[in-house]
Structures are given as structure tokens and as C-alpha cells.
Symmetry: C2
Subunit: 235 residues, 2 copies
Amino acid sequence: MEALGSSPLFAGLAREALAAVLTAAHERTVEDGETAFREGEPADSFCVVAAGRLKLTQVGPEGHEVILRFVGPGEAAAALAAFDGTTYPATAAAVGATQVLVWSRAELQALLGRHPVLALNLLRLLSERLREVQERFRELATERVARRIARALVRLVRQAGRKVEEGVLIDMPLSRQTLAEMTGATLFTVSRTLSEWEAQGIIRSGRERVVIARPHALVAIAEDLPPAGEVKSSK
Amino acid sequence: MEALGSSPLFAGLAREALAAVLTAAHERTVEDGETAFREGEPADSFCVVAAGRLKLTQVGPEGHEVILRFVGPGEAAAALAAFDGTTYPATAAAVGATQVLVWSRAELQALLGRHPVLALNLLRLLSERLREVQERFRELATERVARRIARALVRLVRQAGRKVEEGVLIDMPLSRQTLAEMTGATLFTVSRTLSEWEAQGIIRSGRERVVIARPHALVAIAEDLPPAGEVKSSK
DNA sequence: CTGCCTCTTTGCGCTGGCGCAACGACGCCG
DNA sequence: CGGCGTCGTTGCGCCAGCGCAAAGAGGCAG
């Protein structure tokens, strides 16, 4: 809860304004695997994750599932739903038991009127989201699978990386299937690619668990710096 | 110019407020093929198209180009740049001579403070953008090329469709290459697909010109209603 | 009318990545 | 500690879509 105050979402709010905003929220716990809201439902509330993580997904007509992003503590989900307010564009499932703060659309609108800085913060937030999705869109359209997987891992490290002795652990359950849905590939291709990287010593992986042993090598694949990864060449 | 007043961007503004906002803008003409701004440049202004059209593109490391969207009269470009304000995430090239209104970041910020409803309008705008990009992202990840092309055409009809006797003309120069960059395909595949549809009487096409003869057949491909298109079955 | 330039078509070969099946490994629960 | 359910791996075949080359087809300028 205290972490929320320092979230960019609430930056610039006076202490008492922040308190007012937070008390207007309704708290809720979503169990592992349960959903906070579902794609297509009428969008009537705005969520911020207090603790835990949400997985935002969309499904295609044939049932193919795609992961848009993960939402960590202090981040907002369904930011858009609250404005063009028709239906949720994605489903939000909890990864592990997750605490969320919920505001109804009406409450949110009122708060936006009362604290204009909130609107600016939200604008910035949506801008960043848009920027990121556009970039991923370009990647999906122009880059090969291996590179997309590498990028996905790099992003995950940024969001949920934890230093361990073997390297950097991605601190959440991460199956091949999940990576596949993040990158627009199949779980088979992901598995093969990770096996290869493991053979090259770039990563170590286990059941729903990935540790990046040589992050710069992964970045090299993601960015296509002179492709190969070498053990101790500098630069 | 008069059209701008009714743009959703400026909805809810009093007449004199609207006038104030518009006079704060700097007007500019961008010639066909010239750019209003380029990807990677420091983002210092916010644009609204008054007349003509902008094409927003991104390029990948290998030079592969991707078209994010077209921006028509009354629509905003670089909405995000004005907030997280680092660099433009895309290049905006004019399609035909195009008039744009430009506000500097500072001006925009000032206007947002003075007319809070503007901020809400922008939030709604960004929300819709985000929703659309996310949907296209899912399509790119899960659907075949033919369907993506069909969807692109359907969207273009909505944005620039004009009724002509043969059907609905997409009223802008539209090459195979352009369609390819919109759908993450190659110009060859697009050409082949369109040829096939032309043989089936769904479209008629020429040099940089596409007319949709049987729109519902195209929609059937885009949504995957029982696939085939038939000439006069209802429903 | 002629030439040129750009856009389009089509054939052909190739391959990245999918799709499935079978098997193997891990972890949990009783 | 044995069974089972989930997740991961790997071999094999296949095909959608790419990549290129070569040949049309408009359109525009002079």
C-alpha cells in the first residue's frame, strides 16, 4: 500500500489528496488463476495492482491466446476501459494471489475532476503503453522468432528480475507456453530456442523457471549486435 | 478548419475556448511524401491533421518498414509524444499535400491546464488507439495473412471509403507494398491474395487503387464467418 | 508517340516455424 | 514411495509465406 504512493500514477498528489484517492478505492483479493475482469465484459472499473501480478490476455476467434503484458505492483490495468468505457479489451488473470485496488468509473471520473494532475499522470501512462505496444507490433511484423523471444526475456528481467548466483532469475512462473503467447510463437519453437541457448550457456532453465546467465549475450540477440555471444570479449 | 471544431478531440469546449485553442496553434503545410516529424527525433510538438492525411511508420533495425496507421482530418498524431515526451515513436509522412496544426509541448501543457476537458478527450483518444493497436497485435500473432489483409481493407474502407458504382473505393493511393507494410506480409503475398479475390469478384483493383465490390464477402474473410462468399445468399 | 519509371503479376524454389506424437522429467499428493 | 498430472523435449513431416527474377501494365513527361 505504501508503495502505491510512490507509483508514477500518483506522483504530484499532495499527501491528503493521495489519501482521499486511496480511500475512495475498493480493495479486492484475486486468487491465483482467477480473473479480475474479462475481455468483452462491460468495463466499469479501473484497477491498480497493490501486490502480486496480473496477466493481461486477449483471445482470438479460434481460441488462440495472446499475452499483452504483465501488470505489477503500482501499475494500472484497464486504464483505457475507464474512458472509452465500452468493454474490457483483455482478460486480467492473477498470477499468484493478488491484491488490487478498484475504482468505479464514476469515482474515477470524479477524482479526475478533483485532481487534474491525475489526468496528466494517466496520459503519460497511456502514452508509454501505446509506445510499447507499437514497438512490439513492429517486432512481431518484422523480426524472427528467436529475437522476439530474446526481447521478451529482456523485458521480463526488467519487470521481474532478481539476482541469484547463477545470474538473473525471472521471478515468476514462466512456462514455454507463456513465452510463446507473449511472442506469437508456438511452445515448441520456444522450447527449441531455449534449449539451444541453454546449450550455449546463455540461460539456465527448469520447469516454469528461467535464469539468464549471460544477459549481455541475450541482449546481443535481441538487438542483433554482431550476433555471436562470446564468453569474455569485452565491448 | 471548421471540421476541427466537431472533432472528438475538441468536444465539450465552449466556442471561445475552442477559438483560443485553435489560435494557439501554428499552421503548417507538409508536401506529399515530406515528413511532419521523424521517429527518434526529440518530440516537441503535438499535431492535428486539418486536411490531407499522414502515414505513421516505424522502421526496424534491418530497414523493414511497418505502417502503424493513417491519420485523417481531425485526428491527432504524436499524441503520446507530448506527454512522456522523449522522442517520436514513429515517422509521419504526408500522403498528398497535407495541412497540420501544430502545438508546442509547452503550449499544449498550458492548454491542458486551462481546459481540463481537453485532457479527458485526449485520454479517450489514447484509449482508443491503444485498444486498436492491441487488437492488431493479437491479429498479427494469431491470424493468417489473408485474414489480416481483409481486416486492413475493412479498416481502410471505414477510414477512406467512398461509394462508387463498382462498389466502395478506398480513396487514397494504396499500393501492394503499402498493404504489405500494414499487415506484416510481403508485397508478393499481398499481390497474390488480391489477385485471387479479384478472380472471385470480391474486389477490383488497379495501380494503387482498390475497390471493394462485395464488402460483406470481405468481412466474411476478415471474421471467418462460414468462410465462403456467395453472390446472393442473404444472412 | 515514345520512352521511362514505377507498380504489379506470376512462376519457382526454399525454409522458418508450425503441428503432432511420443517420450521424458519434475513435482505434488495421498 | 508410487502414481499422476503438468510441463518440457525432440524427431519428423509439412506448408504458408518469403525471396528473387523476369516479364507485363499503367501513367507521366517531353
